[in-house]
């Protein structure tokens, strides 16, 4: 018995030696991941402490759930949660429908050259930073010669320029719009390739049956990409709370803070800004845990769905 065990270990070690170069190629980077991705998770322990800089781990004061209670009793937190959820749900809806419409519409363009040009140009904003996009949106929406105001005034919809960036109620829409402007083309890539995979014979058959273009889209194209859409939709539910904060930070200004602040910005402002590290960590931990829960729910839904589709 002991011999078998020993030879198993021997074999393992021998194989390990054989694969030493593979280890050499991966272990250094796995260590980097350990440092930069896993140690911060260990940092979550701070949310149960009253963390102060300059104290060792054992000198920190333990406070139990006090930080979480403080968060839940902070009115600002609910405002921030509302903003986060509102912008992520709006982003999710628009971020799916518009790229799908774009992909379907692009697929209907018969001129190959035109199609290629539109497609290439549509990727451009994805590669541009949020700083640039925010700058562009400020300019487009400005009251002082901004194109949007100019057009609306010329068309007679408004008498004087609207201060888009100063209206809190419009902030969610502006962020969603900016997001669409930036990512529509990019997010359509996967739908376009799903559409290309549809059997062209289906369209021919539909034409013979006298289906017009809209009916072809409705009965062939859309059902053809249905499974891709559902998979992507479920996967993105897990990221609902993690919408990032770049665009909110760059597009906001003090006038719209009530609508622009999201969880990460809240953590940044109250955590780092005021040196309340434990409080900020607790917020970060909260959003990470909610993400994981949502992901599991979405995964459950996915399993449910795929089981159904198999049946």
């Amino acid at each position: 018995m002991a011999n078998v065990e020993a030879s198993k270990v021997d074999l393992f070690v021998k194989k390990m030696y054989q694969q030493r170069y593979l280890y050499l190629m991966s272990v250094p980077f796995i260590i980097l991941v350990l440092i930069f991705n896993y140690i911060p998770i260990w940092g979550w322990i701070m949310s149960f402490q009253n963390f102060k800089l300059g104290r060792t781990f054992f000198e920190q004061e333990w406070v139990g759930l006090a930080n979480f209670i403080q968060i839940l009793s902070d009115k600002q937190f609910y405002l921030v949660l509302r903003n986060t959820l509102a912008m992520s749900v709006m982003g999710l809806i628009a971020g799916f429908t518009i790229p799908i419409i774009f992909a379907v519409s692009l697929n209907e363009v018969s001129h190959t050259g035109y199609k290629k040009i539109v497609q290439t140009i549509s990727y451009l904003p994805h590669f541009v930073s949020w700083v640039v996009v925010a700058g562009i949106f400020y300019k487009l929406l400005s009251t002082d010669g901004g194109v949007v105001n100019d057009i609306l005034m010329k068309l007679g919809f408004i008498g004087e320029p609207i201060q888009f960036m100063a209206k809190g109620k419009l902030f969610w829409w502006i962020v969603t719009l900016a997001d669409i402007w930036k990512e529509m083309g990019w997010n359509s890539i996967i739908f376009i390739s799903a559409i290309t995979a549809i059997d062209p014979q289906l369209y021919d058959a539909a034409k013979v049956d006298g289906c017009g273009r809209f009916r072809q889209i409705w009965h062939i194209t859309l059902p053809g990409i249905r499974s891709v859409v559902i998979v992507l939709l479920i996967l993105s539910i897990g990221n609902l709370v993690r919408i990032g904060f770049e665009k909110q930070m760059l597009l906001s200004n003090p006038l719209v803070f009530d609508y622009s602040e999201v969880l990460d910005l809240y953590a940044l402002k109250y955590g780092l800004g005021l040196n309340r590290f434990s409080f900020g960590t607790a917020i970060g931990m909260f959003s990470s845990l909610v993400s994981v829960c949502l992901l599991f729910t979405a995964n459950g839904l996915f399993k449910h769905y795929s089981k159904e589709s198999v049946m």
């Binding site: 170069y21 190629m25 209907e108 996967i190 200004n253 955590g271 994981v292």
Partner: protein, 296 residues
Amino acid sequence: MKRKKINVDRVFNTFNGLIMAIVLIVTLYPFLNVLAVSLNESLDTVKGGITIFPRKFTTENYKVIFTYQNLLNAFFISVLRTVVGTVAGLIASSMVAYTLSRSDFQARKFFSTFLVLTLYVSGGLIPGFLLMRDLHLINSFWVYILPAIVNAFYIFMIRTYMEGLPFELQESAFIDGASDITVFIKIILPLSTPVLATIALFIAVGQWNSWFDTYLYNGSNDLLSTLQFELMKILQSTQTGSDMARNNNVLEQMTTVTPDSIKMAITIVTVVPIIMVYPFLQKYFVKGMTIGAVKS
């Protein structure tokens, strides 16, 4: 009957083509407008009305941004972090991806799971900040490089590609006595250029466009500032009048041109390299994105 159908088709095509034209205009106009303003005389721009052509052509705005030491330095740091970050990231992800693509690798499962988890759980901003502080990476160039070297998403994209290569190619090399490293360098890497080009583009764009790490870790160090961060500071100070405006050295030095023109010229400087690269890699990244999404 038949005539009518052709007409409906033509209406549909015209209408659809028009919608695509609108997409083109909405996407391109802002960039052309920025370009026009950046090439227009600053004081003339203030009068407004610049669309997509400069009214009084000048290259003064560009000359100005390249005379300010801070901006020149930021440009240099941006280029440096892009080059170093891309090379380091590409080496790391391709090596790890290769080991994970080898089905006989002992630690394959463990390392894969270890990497997958990072896609779903992150420690958050504050523990991350304190870690950088403990590692003395604050006020350091390396904070741009080290945390970003390993990216699980990129590794999985490369791995998927490498798994698709026929294993026989490696097998015959192993029989000839080649080591894992030789096979990786001589056989796998040359065959993986399409996916490596895609990942290089992604990493480079990410590094070039990044500003938040500068803001968070090196915000007070002018020597480590990046172009995107300088642009962000100008944007914040001219538009929102936040605290940034008070200690913005670049703006204080500028008298001959308006911040708006400077903003546009910097924007063009940051966008042009991207425009020059991405269309040529389009077929690769479209394929890469599709494979990645299907597999995950």
